[in-house]
Structure formats: C-alpha cells, structure tokens
C-alpha cells in the first residue's frame, strides 16, 4: 500500500511538474503593477511562440522548451529575485529577457558571473552592443542610441536634409532608461546644428503639466519621447491639449503601442513612433499560433493581444531566441544545449529575409548579423504612425540605418570605460 502510494505520488509529481525538458527559457514577465498593460502583451507573445514550437514542431531540434514564468511587477528587486530563483530551473536557464532597463543593469554582473546570456532587445545598457566587453549581453537588433539617431534621421528627411537652427525637445522618463538617448542626441545636435531641450518627467509620469506648458511656450519644431507606461498616455493627451502637431511628435519604440494612444482618442491621429519590427497580424505564423496555441486553449493570455505592437515584439524576441537555440544546436551538434552554447548561438546569429520568410514572418524584421564585436545588430529601424480611424499603427518608412559614425564611437567610449572600471580584457 505504501509503495503504491509512493508510486502514485511520483507519477502525479511527474505529470504535474514542469516537463523534463532541457531547453529552459525564463520569461520574467510583469502581469501586475503599473506597467502590467504593457507587460502582458509582450509576455503573451513571448510565451505563445515557444508554445507554438512545442505544439507544432515538438520543440526545437527535438527538445521541448521548458518555459518558466516569473512575475517581476517591473520591480528591480523582484526581477533579481526571479533571476536567482529560476537560473537553475530544468538544468539551467538558457537566456533571460528582463524587459526592464533597471533589472538589466542589476543582472549584467550576475549573469556574467553565472555564464547565462541576457537578451535586452531594444532596451538595457546600450554599450552592451560591444560584445568584446559584454560577453554575455546582447541587445540586437537595435538599441536606444540607434533609436535617437533614427528619430533625428527621420526629422532630417522631413526637413529636406537641413535641421540647423531647429528646436528639438526630448520628453523623457527621469530614470536610467529615459536618460539613455541624451548623450547621442547631444552629439547629433552638434553634428546637425539643432537645439536640444531636455524635459525630464518624474515616475510614474501622471503629472506633466509643467513640461507641456514649457513646450507650448518654447514651440520646439519636434518633440521626441522616451516614456513607458502611464507617462506615454499622459504625454500624448497633453500634446493633444496644447495642439502640438502629432506628426512632429515621435516616440521611441517603448512609446509606440496601442495602449499609449487610445486614451487620447481620435486626436492622437498622426502620432509617430519608432519600431524595429513590423506591425499587424497579417503573417502566416499567426495562423499557426491561432490553430496550435489559441484554439487549443494553450495561449499564455486570453488570446486577445495577437497582432498588437507589444505582442508582436514579445513574439519577435522569442523568434530570435529560438533561432539562436537552433544556431547553437547546429554549432555544438547537441540538441540539449547549455547556456554557454546558447551564448555562442546568439553570437553567431544571422537573421536573413529568407529565414524570416521561412518562419512565416516575411519582412517582419530587418536583416542583421551578430558577432563577437557586435552584439547589437546593425541599427536598422523604421517609423510607424498611428491611424486613429483604423485603430492601428502603420509603417510609413522602410527600414533605415542609424548614424553608425556617431553611435560606434559612443559605444566604444562607454564600453571601454566599463571595461577599465571592471577589469575586463576585451575579447576581440
């Protein structure tokens, strides 16, 4: 009887516990707290793609993906706790995608010591692009400094190539994240002769009257925004209130989701935001997600976020992680890779148009290659614009490259300083 009970308990534990998979991917999500509205669609996209691979393909290279979710609430301390609690899951986590610049900064030394790669897609420490210093951190396909340059290039294109004497204001979240583009914008201001005004907004950004009164008084030609969460909605509403032309208001990719514009209604029409991936749900991969994940009742969320900007971004992050796993498997000849092999796979990742088309995502993201020297991709992005009537962002430019002349110099300077402070010998 006792043996039978033990056998039953063991069988139940095996059935109820996590799959005995060898490819553990951790989703440090935030479905609660002030940024939940953004965290939910990203996490849904990230998880649904891995679920699709498990259900449709039986995993990657014959290995099922063991997806572990940990709630951070966008809180740095909780994010670190999640990392510590999950890094040993299922034989060891392969990669982390913290979706928070604050958490990323705390995890860089920890992940480096533990030998677990971080993928901070479009956020985090920008100079981590220099892979010779930041061996375990990757921020492809684009970073904040690329974003700053892409925005200025778009303004240059709008103004016929000359923006000398123009005024550009940056409304930014007064945090490590919001301050990231300042140095690049200052360099670009010197190069192109525009006047830069900095307008910090304190967390959470519910109150921005002073900043927008200043914008109304000083009448900048363009306003750039580095916001997140409620700061975006309030800024766009305040811009509407002071009748600032929406087509001259450009947000970074974290200020360009449906959540950000809907509160302002029809008057937000024309607002622009940068992006490093395509929009909408008109891609073959979504048919598969619907069939194998949503209809099968295995979606991470309610299945109502598919095709939104942040769902697409979460899914794209999962696509890039999955392709890095495939690359690592090919390189090592092992299907059950470890975190070091994962890192090698990320460092040798090559995303081509043909590969994206084969994945059911034609023209979804720019082509890029990762190398020892370059963990940040090639800095390609595009501009999207809110169509209030259609209720969606639309891509209004092709992908174009950021000003590598300035950004490469800044990346080298910043990463060199980090290497000196931390006694790191550049690898390549």
């Amino acid at each position: 009887m006792k043996q039978r009970l033990m056998a039953t308990a063991l069988a139940a534990a095996m059935a109820a516990g996590p799959a005995l998979a060898d490819l553990t991917v951790v989703d440090t999500s935030y479905r609660t707290g002030p940024y939940a509205a953004n965290g939910i669609p990203f996490s849904d996209g990230y998880q649904d793609y891995f679920t699709l691979l498990n259900e449709r393909d039986g995993g990657i290279g014959g290995e099922k993906i063991n997806l572990v979710e940990c709630e951070t609430g966008y809180n740095t301390e909780k994010g670190v706790e999640c990392y510590e609690a999950t890094k040993g899951e299922g034989g060891g986590a392969l990669v982390y995608q913290p979706l928070s610049t604050g958490i990323t900064y705390q995890l860089i030394p920890k992940a480096t010591a533990d030998g677990i790669p971080l993928h901070t897609m479009g956020y985090g420490r920008t100079s981590a692009k220099n892979g010779s210093v930041f061996k375990w951190v990757f921020n492809y396909p684009a970073n904040y400094w690329d974003g700053a340059s892409l925005a200025v290039t778009h303004i240059l294109n709008q103004e016929g190539g000359d923006i000398s004497g123009k005024k550009i204001a940056l409304v930014y979240h007064n945090s490590a994240y919001g301050k990231e583009p300042i140095r690049t914008l200052e360099e670009l201001a010197k190069k192109h002769g525009f006047e830069l005004t900095l307008l910090p907004v304190d967390h959470p950004g519910q109150e921005q009257k002073s900043q927008w009164l200043q914008i109304r008084r000083e009448r900048p030609d363009y306003v750039l925004m580095w916001g997140w969460g409620v700061m975006n909605q309030v800024a766009i509403q305040e811009a509407v209130n002071i009748r600032f032309p929406m087509d001259k208001f450009i947000g970074i990719w974290w200020s360009g989701s449906e959540n950000d514009v809907k509160a302002a209604g029809a008057k937000a029409d024309g607002y622009k935001a940068l992006t490093f991936h395509n929009l909408g749900s008109d891609y073959p991969v979504y048919d598969d997600i619907q069939k194998y994940v949503v209809d099968a009742g295995k979606a991470a969320g309610a299945g109502d976020q598919i095709g939104t900007v942040l769902y697409n971004r979460g899914m794209y992050a999962a696509v890039l992680a999955a392709e890095a796993i495939k690359t690592a498997q090919e390189m090592s000849g092992v299907s059950a890779i470890n975190s070091e092999q994962m890192r090698d796979g990320m460092e040798n990742l090559e995303m081509t148009d043909a590969k994206m088309a084969a994945l059911g995502l034609p023209n979804f993201g720019p082509e890029f290659t990762v190398s020892c020297e370059n963990h940040g991709g090639n800095g390609y992005g595009a501009v999207s614009q809110w169509n209030a009537e259609a209720g969606e962002f639309e891509l209004i430019t092709d992908y174009y490259q950021s000003d590598q002349e300035i950004i490469s110099k800044l990346v080298v300077e910043d990463s060199k300083q980090f290497a000196e402070e931390n006694g790191i010998e550049p690898r390549c």
Binding site: P200, L213, G229, V230, Q233, N259
Partner: protein, 328 residues
C-alpha cells in the same frame, strides 16, 4: 509686461488647477483619518478600483470574466450593453458602499481599540488585496474613461488673455471642471459634517469613540458611512485623473501626490486639504518654472516633499490640523 511674468501667471493658474486635483485625493484621506484615526494607505487604490468599476459598468464588461472563462471554459466578456455615465456613476457608488461595508465587516470591526500602526498596516494589506482583486475583476488593460467631460485648451481664456497680454493662457477644460466639482464636493462635505445628524455623529466619533458609543452612536455605521464617503471622493478623483490618462494601475500612485498636501494642510481638516493642495500645486509649478531649468528639471515631487518637511518641523499638525496634546 515682461514675458517671464506673463508666463509665470499662466504657470500659477495651472498650479492652482493641479492643486485642486491633488486636494481631491487628499480629501479621501482626511475623511477617514478624521472619523477613525486611520491613515488609509489604500486611498489611491480605492480611486483606481472605483474608476475601474465605473468603466466596467459603462462598457457592460462581465466582472471576473477571465476567471469565469478559465474555470467554466466559456467565452463571456461583455453583457453587450452600454450604461450611460450618470447611471454608471450611481451603480459604482453602490459598489463602493458595499466595499465600505465589507472593509468594516471583515477588517476594521475586528481591530477596534488597536494601535494606529496596526490599523495602518491593515490598510496596506487592503491596498494590496484591492489591487489584485481589481485586476481579477476588471482586467489589467488600460481602459478609456469618457463620462462626457471636455478636455483641451479653454478657448475663452485663451482668447481673453491673448487680448490682454498678447499671449493666450493654457487652461485645460478638464481642470476647470475638476475645480468646480471639487468646490461643490467640499461645500457638500462641510455642510454634511456641520449640519446633518450623521455628520455630527461622525465628528463625535472622531473626537472620542467611547463617548460617542456611550450616547448611542453606532461606530460600525459611522465607519461604513465614512468609508463610503471616502469611496465617493475616490470615485471623483478617479474620474478626473482617469479621464486624462486612461484608467490603469498607475492611478493608485496618485496617493503619493496627496501625502505632502496632507502634511501641509493637516490630516483632520477638509479646508486644509484644499488649501494644502493649492499651495503644493502652485508652489511646485512655480518652482519648476523658475528654478527647474537651472538644475535640470523634474523638481516638482522634490519640492512638494521638501515643503511638507519644512512644515513638519515648524508646524507638525499642518496649517489647519488639530494640535494633539497628550498628558500623562
């Protein structure tokens, strides 16, 4: 007139309007503290919960739909109707009264006579519970709130000031409405507290629980009434803030704006909350306008709390608060 002075006047007026919005949040704190001595940490979350409930009712959203669907395998999200704003506000008030009753029945009735710190800790627990409960009930997505309040620049003020100063002042229509509503609310609350039977009972409970009980005042009834009033004030604050930014979790953080207002105006004075709000609103906006550019900006929160700190040093009971003297 110098340009800086004209702009300063515009900033001053906008500071007054912001101050009214801060005061709206502070009022809820004052009501509960006045009647029960509880510093209600959950006041911000009450505003969020009230606004979420209002939008949910207006949009005909099925409460707990995700939970129901997950348990029963259904696909129910909406009743398919739209409730007019006024009716939805009344229904939300019913929910807030029910919540007030539940808060008293399940929490505070068991804590009568406990130390203030215990009551404060209970409100922290309540705040976390309500955050999660609200999410499960109505979902964590950002909800648009439109009860018909106008937003954007007031054209008349813009035109009049332009004719006088050659520069049109920006005053948000929503802020003007908030000011009018706040004024009515304060007048109603003062009349209620001074002249109604229940208002006098509320003040009696505030002065001395035991003495009020001895003359037949029901402590339970008064506490439910006060939490209901705080819920109503939270609903008004939630409508004003939620109209601007959409109803989302961050609404609960507006309580942070009320703390310096309370320190300044006093925790026990309804007019104090208003005056404190106006001083903080005007002070922080003028400071940001004049000193902000010299120090890199984002001085508003800093200024509000520093001003509150100064008041704590020189007048700990606030401008209108009661000086509490405890004798051995």
């Amino acid at each position: 007139m110098p340009e800086q002075l004209i702009w300063g006047m515009e900033v001053f007026l906008n500071g007054l309007m912001s101050g009214v919005l801060y005061a709206l949040v502070a009022l809820g704190f004052v009501l509960i503290f006045k009647a029960s001595g509880i510093f209600n940490f959950a006041q911000g979350v009450l505003a969020l919960f009230a606004a979420m409930t209002l939008v949910g009712i207006m949009d005909g959203q099925v409460p707990f739909s995700n939970l129901i669907n997950a348990v029963f395998g259904t696909e129910i999200y909406s009743f398919g109707w739209h409730v007019p704003a006024l009716a939805a506000i009344l229904l939300t008030m019913v929910v807030m009264v029910a919540l007030a009753w539940a808060v008293n029945y399940f929490i505070f009735r068991h804590l009568v006579g406990q130390e203030p710190i215990i009551l404060f800790m209970a409100t922290i627990g309540l705040a976390y519970f309500l955050e999660g409960f609200g999410d499960i009930m109505w979902g964590a997505d950002i909800k648009n709130l439109d009860v018909g309040l106008p937003q954007g620049i007031n054209a008349t003020i813009d035109e009049v000031t332009y004719n006088i100063f050659g520069y049109g002042f920006f005053i948000d229509n929503l802020d003007l409405w908030a000011t009018a509503v706040a004024a009515l609310l304060v007048i109603a609350l003062v009349i209620f507290a001074q002249y109604s039977k229940h208002g006098r009972a509320m003040r009696a409970v505030a002065d001395d629980h035991q003495a009020a009980l001895s003359v037949g005042v029901s402590l339970n009834f008064i506490w439910v009434m006060v939490w209901s009033l705080a819920g109503f004030v939270a609903l008004v604050a939630g409508i004003m803030w939620g109209t601007k930014s959409g109803v989302q979790f961050s609404l609960s953080l507006i309580a942070l704006k009320a703390l310096p207002v309370l320190m300044l105006g006093g925790f026990t004075s309804i007019p104090g909350a208003i005056v404190g709000g106006l001083i903080i609103g005007v002070g922080e906006k003028l400071f940001e306008f004049s000193v902000g550019p010299m120090v890199g900006g984002a001085t508003e929160n800093w200024f509000a709390y520093v001003l509150a700190l100064i008041f704590l040093v020189f007048r700990p009971q606030g401008l209108f608060g009661e000086k509490i003297i405890e004798r051995v």
